[in-house]
Amino acid sequence: MFLLHTFTVLFVLDELVHSVASSSALSGLGSHGWLAPMDCVRASEMCNQNSQCSSRYRIMRQCLVGKDRTTMLANRECQAALEVLQDNPLYDCRCKRGMKKELQCLQNYWSIHMGLTEDEEFYETSPYEPLHPDETRRASIISAIDSASTKGNLCLDTGSPCNPCLDAAKACNLNDTCKRQRSMYITACHNKGSPIQQPQEPCNRKRCHKALRQFFERVQSEFSYPLLFCACRDTACAERRRQTIVPSCSFDEKTRPNCLELRRSCRSDPLCRSRLADFHMNCQTTRLTKTTCPNDNYYGCLISYVGLIGLDVTPNYVDASHSNFSISLWCSCRGSGNQEEECDAFLRDFRENTCLKNAIQAFGYGSEAGHIPMLESQPSLPSLPPVRTNLQPAIITKPSISSNDIKPIDNACIYSTCANLKDNGKKCTPSDAYECANENLLAPGMEGSIDTMGSHQAADESARQSSADPRHLSTPVALLTGIILSQAL
């Protein structure tokens, strides 16, 4: 509290308006309510404006250079600096996904928190702001539309095999930003015979990873997530899904490193360390919720999973199995010595993560899932459950249809309608009037979103914004929801 006053006084001398804003931000921090915590770039700027704080901060950073926690704490000066900074807004600061200066923000975060956490802590606190319920809810609408349109789309007509991953590729190819960014990472992950790389290396892994990160940052999740989380019913589809991130370059390596070694190298990089902590926080299987995900927030888990792609800990599907897919890292626990248990536990969070699996299945609305992600109070398409404790996804007992003899017209559409109706307490009457979103419906919606964005530049810009903040999702999508809904009811 004393510190807070010091700050305010200092700022009054400096600039009155600024001080009002910052002190209100400060008071918001203490409560840990929905008032967003200050971002670490601002917090460190503020610290640097205060001579006492900035000197402690400098000492702290010097203390951490090349030293572990024990050595650092042995130093009295370091200890004193740490104590002072713990009462500073820097201690509570957080970063936003895809924010401007994200890396700088994360560096600022770890410059304090590295000294505050135990060195070999298994799970670390995520430096990212918790996802606001509104964000996840908006985002879930998109995925719901997508899954609905995938169901009604190519799976129905022509008798060609149902391949949602192919549909996702089509949707991406028809969107200028997605097409361009996809092309960029595919080229980057595939450049054979570039002069820079060694002849025995199949690709430039670093460049590939960077392009993949860029793809998921800049392309709207509406287009990028279906490529990665499409619900497959056959091997052809599942192999396509596995190939999404060009695993020959981004995933496989000649040797499999030890998983703890991989974690160590990840933790030496602020971005990787943050994303890993975020994954652990949002995808941690818990028995406290129905979905087994923290706060029943599937989308939060998917976001943090996608955040790992293009880093040292890039996860992927291990094979082209469609009925029982599994995710892993490219590492093994061989040679872990006395840390084998820890290594297994680390790897298990990827390989046997129920929350992650449920989230992926719920996104694709997979037939095998047995989960039909549930609906909100307003009539809606099946959507991912938002962060609300009173909402529970319906766990419907596995329908008596095997994945092979699925007739999409019968179940994909009417199924969801029934689920809808049931949730609203009405009688389930599958009607012929209900039609799935078909291609005709999907196409104008997508063209519309391109049109409203105008130029390529605007499309790029809004894609970037919406990847950072799903609230900016385009209105045509909302309109489309309306159209589908009015048909459904």
């Binding site: 060609s160 089509k170 190819n173 028809l174 361009r180 996809r182 092309s183």
Partner: protein, 105 residues
């Protein structure tokens, strides 16, 4: 007769879209992925230059030389790359598949 035809096709040269599968490109790839093919189509009669009029009038004196005295609706620039996964799960990138701008040249 002539005016009727002129009224019928009034679309000026412009960029149009077509959805095609990779196999339908006939470039030797086998794939079911759909890509957007953008092409140029339309009339260029409005953009005849003095060059074209003169060339048409001196045609006879050029004795069977290959000449074109009408502008043509063609791409003036192309889209950079389009990438796709073929049916054998190999990635390919095609350069300059689609037009990005059209003009009467």
């Amino acid at each position: 007769k002539r005016t009727k035809r002129a009224r019928k096709v009034t679309t000026p040269c412009s960029l149009l879209n077509l959805e095609v599968t990779v196999s339908q490109l006939e470039l030797g790839y086998e794939g079911d992925e759909t890509v957007l093919f953008r092409y140029c189509s339309g009339k260029c009669s409005a953009s005849r230059r003095n060059y074209d009029i003169t060339l048409a009038s001196v045609k006879k004196r050029l004795q069977g030389k290959k000449i074109r005295h009408n502008p043509c609706c063609r791409p003036t620039s192309y889209e950079e790359d389009i990438s796709f996964l073929d049916n054998n799960y190999k990635y390919h990138t095609i350069k300059e598949l689609s037009a990005s701008q059209c003009g009467c040249v």
